[in-house]
Structure formats: structure tokens, C-alpha cells
């Protein structure tokens, strides 16, 4: 067999020019045009495109640090599970009547299986000779429909989620939890009014956010303890005297100071 330098090939393929195979499509070297050597000319330009892409990607990475939720708590019954965004369309599909309940297999395996199966076998389903989109309207229309459905399902699924509230409910707590000074005069008040929602180490829970790392002044904390927050904590949780409120706020701020150290 002929080897090494001086070998002739069809176009840029590995098909030897000695073998004339009719099944290999017309090569683009037969189309008039300006070809360019991959190495090094084209690769240099490709690096440029890659660099621009990398800069954009790193900007995204730096602007939005990867999120980390709180340590998994299997007993947390209030947590609403959601898959990563690229599975949302499958998740949303299962909410339709024809794809859930008794028809769950249709929604879970039937429809996605049909869609992905068709994608896998596309060259055999769409086996005509024409390559232009208008020469194969059925394939193109099916793809556009599937694409629209996927985008629509993803959108409806994501639009119903309050992402900020979700993130706020699932904050990471430093693993070396703070030593809570239970002898502090404010702790008893915290225990009585706040602990059931905000946790025994102010770490937060299903019903209330963490109180560690909050950026609020003493007055603001006092007001929230009595009047709650808009759309979150109800009013009238803390019903002690002003003096007790001061002790409670002092306790919360002390823990925050400890945490900041």
C-alpha cells in the first residue's frame, strides 16, 4: 500500500484518491472558491474566535459566581424540587393532564422517547436527496415544532418560579456553626419568638431566612421583629417590651459580629 508523503486524497478527507467511490458526495474542491490551509492559517483565525468566546465566558463566570445552596437536608419537606434548566421542559411536560397520572408513561417515556428517537434516526426518516430546507418541509416543520415546544415548556416552567426567593431559602451556612451564647439575655427571647423559624443557630430554615450575615441596623431589626417584612415574615411575632426588644436585637447583632470575625 502506498504510504506517507505524496499520497493523494479526495478533498480534505481520508478517502484515498486512488479509490473512486461513487458514494462519496461531490467534493467541495470541485466548487470554485478559495480554500485555506487549516494549519497554520485557519487555526490562527480560529484561535481568535476561541479567545473572544473565552473572554465572554470568563466574564459570565466572574459576574455570576456559581451558586451553592444549603447542605442537603432530607427532612426539609418544604423544599420544592426543580431540575437544572435544561431538564425543565421535561419537568413541565409532566404537569399536563395527558402526560401525568395514568398517562405518566406517555409523558415520561412516550413523548420524549419519540422526539429523541426521531432526532437520533433523523437521517433515515428524512432520507431524500435534497439538503435545502424547502426541499424537505416535513422534517423542517417537525423540528421547528419540537423546538418551539421545548422553548415554550422551558419558559413556562421557569416563569412560575420565584428564583430569588428560592435562593434566599437555600443559603449556605458555614460548616463550623457559630457557638451561640445561650447565656446572653437576648437568647431566651430569641428562643421564645424566633427560634422556631430561624433555627437554633440563626441559620434559617424552611420558614425563615438565615439571620447571620444580614446587613441591617439595630433599628431595622427591631422594626422587623415587631412588624415583619413585606411578603415574608408576618407582623406581631415579637410582643415583648421595648427593653426586651433591645436585648433581642443586641443578641442578633452580637452573633453577627462573631460571624464576621
Amino acid at each position: 500500500m502506498h504510504k506517507g508523503k505524496g499520497m493523494k486524497f479526495v478533498g480534505d478527507s481520508r478517502v484515498s484518491a486512488d479509490r473512486t467511490l461513487s458514494k462519496i458526495p461531490k467534493d467541495y474542491s470541485e466548487y470554485p472558491g478559495r480554500t485555506e490551509a487549516f494549519w497554520p492559517n485557519f487555526l490562527l483565525k480560529e484561535w481568535l474566535a476561541g479567545s473572544v468566546f473565552l473572554v465572554g465566558f470568563m466574564c459570565l463566570t466572574l459576574a455570576h459566581p456559581s451558586p451553592l445552596g444549603g447542605l442537603a437536608d432530607p427532612t426539609n419537606a418544604a423544599f420544592i424540587p426543580l431540575p437544572d434548566w435544561y431538564f425543565l421542559f421535561l419537568y413541565e411536560l409532566l404537569k399536563y393532564k395527558f402526560a401525568s397520572g395514568e398517562y405518566i408513561l406517555l409523558g415520561m417515556i412516550g413523548i420524549p422517547g419519540l422526539a429523541f428517537g426521531a432526532l437520533l434516526l433523523a437521517p433515515f426518516l428524512d432520507n431524500g436527496p435534497g439538503r435545502r430546507p424547502h426541499q424537505r418541509p416535513i422534517a423542517v416543520i417537525m423540528m421547528l415544532l419540537a423546538l418551539t415546544a421545548t422553548v415554550w415548556l422551558t419558559y413556562t416552567s421557569a416563569a412560575h418560579v420565584d428564583w430569588e426567593a428560592r435562593a434566599a431559602m437555600d443559603q449556605p451556612v458555614p460548616p463550623n456553626s457559630l457557638e451561640i451564647d445561650t447565656s446572653h439575655e437576648g437568647f431566651a427571647l430569641y428562643e421564645a419568638s424566633c427560634l422556631s423559624c430561624h433555627g437554633d443557630a440563626l441559620q434559617g430554615g424552611a420558614a425563615g431566612p438565615s439571620l447571620v450575615g444580614i446587613e441591617r441596623s439595630a433599628e431595622e431589626i427591631g422594626v422587623i421583629a415587631r412588624e415583619g417584612t413585606e411578603g415574608g415574615m408576618p407582623a406581631g411575632i415579637f410582643t415583648g417590651t421595648d427593653e426586651e426588644l433591645e436585648q433581642l436585637v443586641d443578641f442578633i447583632l452580637t452573633v453577627n459580629e462573631q460571624a464576621a470575625e
Binding site: 445552596g69 424540587p81 437521517p123 437555600d170
Partner: protein
């Protein structure tokens, strides 16, 4: 000098065909954005591979700190995120890369589809590409659990419940993935870690190799 080294090696192992496979070929005008800007659509495949390389490299660095065990998994990620120099950036690259790779894969798939580039003789390469897409989704699913935070845990629980509903093999499938028919716990995490770091990447490399060998063998499809 380089030519001498090349000739020395070539004399012994005949590397010209190998070199030709990798780099020595012509890039046709119709895929070159320098000639027709609209040819940037041909960049999607290469950029997908670029993100895959980012994923492999950042993932390798992440395993230097990550501990696949329910006691320490979350803590190791938290430590990586808060204490390790540039840990947040490396994890950020892996986290965002996982999303970007899906987007780029989708764009690449759509480019090939709407140009009808999967038609004879390239049917096999299309199927290999769709399998790569499935592997990527599998990598996304298994990787999502690894930080062991609430959203990871509960999403995986739902995913496993769905696996259980598969007819006939459902129960076995769930046990294979989770390590238990009830508990999503220590075994699930180690299994997902093994799948994410060893099984699926091995399959991915094999399919990528097939994808690239086929494209070099058959060449890029001609202009429409």
C-alpha cells in the same frame, strides 16, 4: 530544526498520515467566516469541543478538593468556594460550562439539521453526535447532585422517582443509580460521582473520537 525532528520521527514511524489526519488539510471557502461572515455557524461544533475541554480541565482541578461522601461533599465544595485561591472561578467555569455546552450543542445540532448535513453518507456521524448529546445530558444530571445541597438532593430524588417508573426495568434502574431502592444517600452520591467522573467521560471520549475520525474521513459537507 523542527523539520529535522519531524523527518527523524517520520523515517521511523511514518507520521505523515497521522499529521495529515490532525492538521494538514484545506479549509473550504464556504465554512470560513473570513470569506463569508455567515459561515460563523460552522464554529458551533468547534466551540462545543472548546467548552468540553474547559469542562474536562476544570473538572480535573475540582476533583483535587471534592470529596464524594455525604459528610464532606458539601463542606468540600463550600471550602473550595470560599477558601481556595481561584476555587470559585474554577467551579464557576465548570458550573457555567455545563450550561454553555448544552447551548452550543443545541446550536451545532440545529446548524447540521437545517443544512441537511446529516444526509448520506454522514448518517452515522449524526447518530454519534446525538449520542454525545445524550451523554452530555447524563453528565448534567449526575453532576447536579455532587455539591450535595438542597436543590441537588431534591432534584435527584425526583429524577430517581422517574427512573423508577420506567416499565419492567424501573426498579433495577433505580437501584443501579441510587444504590438502594429507598434511600438517596451515601451510595447514591458515590455512584453519581463514579458515573460523572469515570463512566460517562469514558463514553464521551470514545464518541468524540468517533465523531472526529468520521468528519476527517468524510470531510465537511459541501455548500448548500
Amino acid at each position: 530544526m523542527l523539520q529535522k525532528i519531524y523527518d527523524w520521527i517520520d523515517e521511523r514511524v511514518d507520521i505523515t498520515p497521522i499529521w495529515r489526519d490532525i492538521a494538514d488539510h484545506e479549509v473550504p471557502e464556504h465554512v470560513n467566516p473570513a470569506h463569508h461572515f455567515s459561515a460563523f455557524v460552522y464554529c458551533f461544533g468547534g466551540l462545543t469541543f472548546f467548552v468540553v475541554v474547559i469542562q474536562i480541565l476544570s473538572g480535573m482541578f475540582l476533583t483535587m478538593y471534592y470529596v464524594p461522601d455525604i459528610e464532606n461533599a458539601w463542606k468540600s465544595v463550600y471550602y473550595l468556594q470560599t477558601e481556595v485561591a481561584h476555587g470559585q472561578i474554577v467551579r464557576g467555569m465548570h458550573h457555567w460550562g455545563a450550561s454553555v455546552v448544552i447551548v452550543m450543542l443545541l446550536l451545532h445540532t440545529l446548524r447540521v439539521f437545517f443544512q441537511g448535513a446529516y444526509k448520506k453518507p454522514r448518517e452515522l456521524n449524526w447518530m454519534v453526535g446525538v449520542l454525545i448529546f445524550f451523554i452530555m445530558l447524563g453528565l448534567g444530571f449526575t453532576g447536579y447532585l455532587l455539591p450535595w445541597d438542597n436543590k441537588a438532593y431534591f432534584a435527584t430524588q425526583v429524577g430517581l422517582q422517574m427512573a423508577e417508573q420506567v416499565p419492567i426495568i424501573g426498579d433495577q434502574l433505580k437501584i443501579l443509580l441510587a444504590g438502594d431502592d429507598e434511600i438517596v444517600g451515601a451510595q447514591t452520591l458515590t455512584r453519581f460521582f463514579a458515573i460523572h467522573v469515570f463512566f460517562l467521560p469514558a463514553a464521551l471520549f470514545a464518541l468524540l473520537a468517533a465523531h472526529f475520525i468520521l468528519i476527517r474521513r468524510q470531510g465537511i459537507s459541501g455548500p448548500l
